[in-house]
C-alpha cells in the first residue's frame, strides 16, 4: 500500500482515475462505484495493489430487465478489517460480457462460473467457463428475469389461485414427465452427448511421465455417490499412481435455484428457506438474512433480542465445530466413534433449539427486528449448564482424545496446505482462512449486532494445514463458550421484537449486503429491493461454495486418500454449496 492511498480514503477514489473510468453509484439506496467495463481490470488491480483491498469476497449480478442492463457487483475487503469496497460494472443485457477477474482474484473462479451459468454473463478471459450448478444440457439462464421454470405459476407470491377460490392442484400433474425437469427442444436422451464432460476431462492438468514407476495417468471420478463427499458431490481427479495431479470439483446435484425461489418469495417467506441452505447451522443463516433486510429497513433490534441472537449463533458455532471435527475423524477412517461423541453434544444443543424455535434444525427463529419468541429462564438455565459444565468438560476430553494422537497428527500435519496469500487470493473464509494465519473474522473486522461489545479472541493457525484447521475449530469453540458466558451474565429483559409481528414488511428500495461470520465462514446475503413486497434480487454468498475454490490447489500433489480429509476439513454442506 502506498502512502497516497492511506491518506486518500474512498470518498476521493473517483479522482484517482482518469475521468470517465469510475463514477459513484448514486441511485437512491445504492452505494459503491460504477466502473467502466473496459477499465475494470485496471481498476481492480489498483484496488488490490494500491488500496489494499486484497480480499474479493463476493461477486454477483442482478438483472434489471426494465433498464435492460446487468449489474455485476463486486464486494472487496481488506483483510486488515474495515468496510467494503463495492464496485459494479453495468453491461447491456444483449451484450453481457465482462472481463474476468480470476487472474487478479482467483477466488472469483466459481462465482463467475455461477454467474455465467445462472445469469448468462460471459466472463472474458476466464480459464474454465463451464456451467457449474445446472446440468450440461440445460438451456437458458434461470436467474434472468425473463426465464420461467417448468412449474411457473406467477412472478411473485402469494399466488392468486390460493384464496379465496382455492382449488388444489398437484404441481406434478401438470408436467408430462412427472418430475421437475425441462428439456431443451429436440432433446433426445439416447443420442445426447455430454460435451461438457469431455471438456471437463480435457481441462485437467497433465504431467510429464513419472520416470521411476512408469505409471499411466488415470482419471477417477470420486462421487457423486461416495461416502466421503458429505452428500452428492463429485471430484474428478487425475492420478499418477497415488498422487493427485489435478482435481476438479463438480457440484450442483442438489441445486434447486434457491435464489430464484427467493425472488418469488416475499421478504418474510425467505426466512425458512434460508434454514435449508446450510441445514446444520440454520440459526446463523437466519441471522445473516435478517441483518441484510434490517439494514434496508433501518430497523433497530431490541437489546434482549440481540443477546438471544448472538447466543443462538454461538451455540450454532459450537455445535457445528463439534460436528465438523467429529466427521473429520470419520474421513480419516476412524469410523464413527469420534463423530458420535461429537453428536452427543450437538444433540444437547439441538434440544435447546427445539425448545426455543420448535424445530431442531429448521429453526426459522429470526424475524426482522428480533426473534420470534422469548427464551425462558428454564432454557437459559439449560444453556448455562451446558456452557459452564458440560461443553468445557467434553471439549477437554476431545482434546485428550484427539489433539496429540499421533495417527491424527501424521495424517493431518502438512497436508492440504494453504498459505496465507493463497487463502486470501482464493477468497476462502472462516476456519480455512484463519488456519492459514489470516486473522480475519467478520465479527471483528466488521462487527455486527453486539459483537463490538464482547470480549473474545480471533483464533488463528500458523501452518494452514488440516491440523491447524482442527485446532482453530477447537479454539473457536472455546471462544464461543467465552462469549456465551458474557451474554448469559448480561442478558437484559425487555421486548424481543421491534414493533408488532407483521407478515408484510415494507422494505425501501435499495441494495444491502448483510454478512455474519458463520461457522463455515463469511455468510452473506445480497438483497436488492425495489420497494415491492418481494426482493428484486436475492443472492447468497455461500461460504462453503467459495471455499471449494481452494480444494484443487490444496489437493494437488497430495495422495488420493488425503483428498477425502482435505474435503472434510473444508467442512462443506451441499445444501449450501448447490443452493
Amino acid at each position: 500500500m502506498t502512502e497516497a492511498t492511506l491518506v486518500n480514503p474512498l470518498e476521493t477514489l473517483v479522482e484517482h482515475f482518469p475521468s470517465g473510468w469510475v463514477k459513484k453509484d448514486d441511485r437512491p439506496g445504492y452505494s459503491g462505484f460504477i466502473v467502466e467495463r473496459e477499465h475494470l481490470l485496471d481498476f481492480a488491480r489498483a484496488m488490490r495493489d494500491d488500496f489494499g483491498f486484497d480480499y474479493l469476497s463476493m461477486v454477483t449480478a442482478s438483472d434489471y430487465l426494465a433498464e435492460g442492463i446487468f449489474d455485476v457487483v463486486y464486494y472487496a475487503y481488506k483483510t486488515i478489517g474495515g468496510p467494503a469496497l463495492v464496485f459494479k460494472v453495468q453491461v447491456p443485457r444483449e451484450d453481457a460480457v465482462v472481463p474476468s477477474l480470476v487472474a487478479l482474484y482467483p477466488g472469483a473462479d466459481f462465482q463467475e462460473r455461477e454467474l455465467w451459468d445462472l445469469m448468462g454473463i460471459r466472463f472474458e478471459g476466464h480459464p474454465d467457463l463451464r456451467r457449474i450448478l445446472m446440468w450440461e444440457g440445460f438451456e437458458g439462464h434461470p436467474l434472468r428475469k425473463d426465464w420461467k421454470e417448468p412449474f411457473y405459476e406467477e412472478d411473485v407470491k402469494p399466488f392468486k389461485s390460493r384464496w379465496p377460490e382455492g382449488k388444489p392442484i398437484h404441481a406434478d400433474d401438470r408436467n408430462p414427465f412427472n418430475d421437475n425437469v425441462q428439456y431443451p427442444t429436440g432433446f433426445d436422451p439416447e443420442r445426447w452427448v455430454p460435451e461438457a464432460e469431455t471438456l471437463l476431462y480435457s481441462g485437467l492438468q497433465q504431467t510429464a511421465h513419472y520416470e521411476e514407476f512408469k505409471t499411466d495417468e488415470l482419471i477417477v471420478n470420486m462421487g457423486p455417490q461416495h461416502p466421503s463427499t458429505h452428500g452428492v458431490f463429485r471430484m474428478v481427479v487425475s492420478l499418477q499412481g497415488e498422487k493427485i495431479v489435478d482435481l476438479k470439483p463438480v457440484m450442483g446435484y442438489l441445486h434447486r435455484n434457491h435464489e430464484k425461489i427467493g425472488e418469488r418469495n416475499t421478504f418474510l417467506q425467505n426466512m425458512p428457506f434460508t434454514d435449508r441452505l446450510d441445514y446444520t447451522t440454520s440459526m446463523s443463516n437466519n441471522f445473516a438474512y435478517a441483518l441484510a433486510v434490517e439494514k434496508l429497513m433501518g430497523l433497530q433490534v431490541p437489546e434482549r433480542a440481540e443477546y438471544i441472537r448472538v447466543i443462538m449463533a454461538e451455540l450454532t458455532r459450537i455445535m457445528n465445530h463439534f460436528f465438523a471435527t467429529g466427521f473429520l475423524l470419520n474421513d480419516l477412517g476412524v469410523y464413527f466413534t469420534a463423530s458420535l461423541y461429537a453428536i452427543e453434544e450437538r444433540e444437547l444443543i439441538l434440544d435447546i433449539f427445539e425448545e426455543v424455535s420448535g424445530s431442531r434444525m429448521m429453526c426459522n427463529y429470526f424475524r426482522f427486528g428480533g426473534v420470534v419468541r422469548d427464551v425462558s429462564d428454564e432454557v437459559l438455565k439449560k444453556i448455562h449448564n451446558l456452557i459452564y459444565d458440560r461443553i468445557p468438560r467434553k471439549l477437554d476430553q476431545f482434546d485428550a482424545y484427539l489433539t496429540n494422537n499421533e495417527i491424527l497428527r501424521t495424517r493431518c500435519e502438512g497436508v492440504g496446505v494453504l498459505t496465507a496469500d493463497q487463502a486470501i487470493a482464493l477468497s476462502t473464509a472462516g476456519p480455512i482462512l484463519r488456519a492459514s494465519g489470516v486473522p480475519y473474522d467478520v465479527r471483528r473486522a466488521d462487527p455486527y449486532s453486539i459483537y463490538d461489545r464482547l470480549d473474545f479472541d480471533v483464533v488463528t493457525g500458523i501452518h494452514g494445514d488440516i491440523y491447524d484447521r482442527y485446532l482453530v475449530r477447537v479454539g473457536e469453540i472455546k471462544e464461543s463458550i467465552k462469549i456465551i458466558k458474557q451474554l448469559l451474565r448480561d442478558i437484559p429483559g425487555g421486548p424481543i421484537l421491534a414493533g408488532k409481528p407483521a407478515y408484510q414488511v415494507r422494505v425501501p428500495a435499495g441494495e444491502s449486503y448483510g454478512r455474519v461470520e458463520g461457522p463455515k465462514g463469511e455468510l452473506g446475503f445480497y438483497i436488492v429491493s425495489s420497494g415491492k413486497p418481494n426482493p428484486e434480487r436475492y443472492h447468497v454468498r455461500a461460504p462453503t461454495f467459495i471455499n471449494l475454490t481452494s480444494l484443487a490447489p490444496m489437493s494437488r500433489g497430495e495422495k488420493v486418500a488425503d483428498v477425502v480429509v482435505i474435503l472434510g476439513a473444508i467442512d462443506i454442506v451441499l445444501g449450501e454449496v448447490d443452493r
Binding site: 407470491k157 402469494p158 399466488f159 389461485s161 390460493r162 384464496w163 379465496p164 377460490e165 382455492g166 382449488k167 388444489p168 398437484h170 404441481a171 406434478d172 418469495n265 416475499t266 418474510l268 417467506q269 425467505n270 426466512m271 425458512p272 428457506f273 435449508r276 466413534t337 461423541y341 452427543e344 444433540e347 444437547l348 434440544d351 427445539e354 425448545e355 426455543v356 424455535s357 420448535g358 424445530s359 429448521m362 426459522n364 420470534v372 419468541r373 439449560k382 449448564n385 451446558l386 459444565d389 458440560r390 476430553q397 485428550a400 482424545y401 484427539l402 489433539t403 496429540n404 494422537n405 499421533e406 495417527i407 491424527l408 497428527r409 409481528p501 407478515y503
Partner: protein, 200 residues
C-alpha cells in the same frame, strides 16, 4: 500427565474410548434399571450431566417434545353444546398468503341466502408434501385457528392425493390443542378474553 499424553497420544486416545466404554456399565450399575424405558430415565439421559449410554431406543422409548415443537398444521375447532364443530377459521386467507411454499388452498364459503362471501372456509386444503413445517400459518393467523401439530409419525404407503389434507383430516378439537400446547393455549385464551371484555 501432559507429557505422557504427548508421547503416548494414541494410548491416551484409547484411554478416552475405554473410559466411555466403562462408563456405560458404571452408570447403568449406579443408576439402576430406571434409566431405561421410563420417562424419568429418558429425561435424565438428556440433561447436561448425563454420562454413559446416550441413545434413546426409538420407538420403544420416545423423547418428549417441547411445547413449541412443530410438524404439520391443523385447524382448531371449538366444540359446541350439541357436539357441532365450530371452526375458528374465518377464511381470511392470511395463512394462504404467508405460506412460503404456497401449499394452502382456501375456498371461501358463500352465504346461501345472500350469496355474499361468508366468514367460513367451504374447503381448506394443505398439501403436506409441500408444507415445509415453518409454522408461519400458525404464527400469523389472527384468530388462533390454525396451529402446529406434534405428531411426527407420518409415514404412509402412498403419496400424492393422500397427502393433500382436506378439512376432514385437518380439523382437530380445541381440547387436543390444549393438551399439546397448554401454555400457549391458556395465554391465547387470556388474550382473547382481554380483548372481548371492553366491548361487553
Amino acid at each position: 500427565m501432559k507429557n505422557f499424553g504427548k508421547r503416548f497420544g494414541v494410548m491416551s486416545s484409547l484411554g478416552v474410548t475405554m473410559g466411555h466404554f466403562f462408563d456405560t456399565y458404571i452408570v447403568d450399575l449406579v443408576k439402576g434399571r430406571k434409566r431405561y424405558w421410563t420417562p424419568e430415565g429418558i429425561e435424565a439421559r438428556r440433561q447436561a450431566d448425563t454420562e454413559g449410554i446416550f441413545t434413546i431406543q426409538y420407538p420403544e422409548e420416545q423423547l418428549p417434545v417441547p411445547e413449541e415443537f412443530r410438524v404439520l398444521p391443523f385447524l382448531v375447532y371449538d366444540e359446541g353444546e350439541n357436539g357441532e364443530k365450530n371452526l375458528r377459521c374465518t377464511a381470511c386467507g392470511i395463512c394462504a398468503k404467508v405460506c412460503p411454499p404456497q401449499c394452502i388452498w382456501i375456498y371461501r364459503a358463500t352465504d346461501p341466502v345472500t350469496g355474499k362471501p361468508s366468514p367460513h372456509p367451504a374447503e381448506f386444503h394443505i398439501d403436506m408434501d409441500i408444507c415445509m413445517n415453518c409454522g408461519f400459518c400458525a404464527e400469523y393467523c389472527p384468530f388462533d385457528a390454525i396451529k402446529m401439530d406434534h405428531d411426527f409419525e407420518l409415514a404412509s404407503y402412498t403419496r400424492g392425493e393422500s397427502h393433500l389434507y382436506g378439512l376432514d383430516k385437518l380439523m382437530k378439537p380445541v381440547s387436543y390443542y390444549e393438551s399439546i400446547r397448554p401454555v400457549n393455549a391458556s395465554r391465547e385464551a387470556a388474550a382473547r378474553a382481554e380483548k372481548a371484555r371492553p366491548k361487553a
